[in-house]
């Protein structure tokens, strides 16, 4: 499990890598919640581009962070879930949280 936290002006981006299961979700939750409570972002972005495995513990992680963000008047989005994670998110009725950005394949063509 890898967790890289990027703090922006009013947002916090959590780049999650590796496996999300019951074991790693507990570790991610502890680190992430500490940062959320400390920086109080308006938007939490869970970037799942680097996630190699995800089970329903990932859904628990999303739901729990959504509750936390809502309690502070903020929002949450999920970025780039894998096919399996997307199936799970859809199963949980949470597909509205996904911002759909496919990884760019042709070199570095990011403007803005």
């Amino acid at each position: 499990m890898k967790l890289n936290l990027i703090r922006g002006d009013k947002y916090l981006c959590a780049e999650i890598g590796g496996d999300i299961d019951h074991h790693t979700a507990m570790q991610i939750r502890m680190r992430l919640d500490g940062e959320i409570e400390r920086t109080m972002p308006q938007m939490l972005i869970l970037d799942m581009s680097g996630v190699e495995f995800c089970d329903s513990s990932g859904i628990g992680l999303i739901l729990g962070r959504q509750r936390l963000m809502q309690s502070m008047g903020g929002n949450l989005t999920v970025k780039n879930p894998s096919d399996t994670a997307r199936k799970l998110i859809t199963l949980a009725g949470l597909s509205y949280l996904i911002i759909n950005r496919q990884p760019e394949k042709k070199g570095d063509n990011k403007n803005g």
Binding site: F53, D55, I59, K87, L88
Partner: protein, 148 residues
């Protein structure tokens, strides 16, 4: 599938430690690789096994010294996976299998474990006795060759 002879099998017993979740799903997935599954089929198997094993760790046993027994059998057309614990058992299986129901809302469980097992495999059977344990049997077609 179950009526035919299986071509290979393995048995694995592990203590109910959360760090064994990744080992259990990797072991079953590596075994299933003998049937040349697609990446999606492998991912489905890993997720389903992970859910069943996590249930043993989170719900069945209050003590990590409890043992989880995993049996997998390979058939020409798919895999049979049995995951058994001797933990607390489930009083109401139907309720436990209801999507979004969880008996431990405080621990951030989504209540989707059985829903994932059901939708990611082709057959799911759950039997349980309170105080004696729970057995989950899943079957997954691989290669879409034959119906089970």
């Amino acid at each position: 599938m179950a009526k035919k002879e299986y071509v290979n099998y393995f048995k694995l017993s592990i203590p109910a430690l959360s760090r064994n979740e990744s080992y259990a799903r990797a072991a079953v997935a590596a075994f299933a690789a003998q049937l040349d599954p697609t990446i999606e089929e492998i991912n489905d198997i890993k997720a389903a096994v992970s859910e069943a094993v996590t249930n043993c760790i989170v719900h069945a046993y209050s003590d990590p010294s409890g043992i989880i027994d995993i049996t997998a059998r390979l058939y020409d057309s798919g895999i049979y996976i049995k995951i058994r614990d001797k933990g607390c058992g489930i009083a109401d299986i139907q309720q436990a299998m209801t999507p979004l129901y969880t008996s431990s809302p405080d621990s951030e469980r989504a209540g989707l474990g059985f829903a994932v097992m059901e939708s990611f495999t082709d057959r799911l059977r759950v039997s349980s006795a309170v105080g004696r344990g729970t057995t989950v049997i899943m079957e997954k077609n691989i290669g879409k060759k034959a119906v089970l």
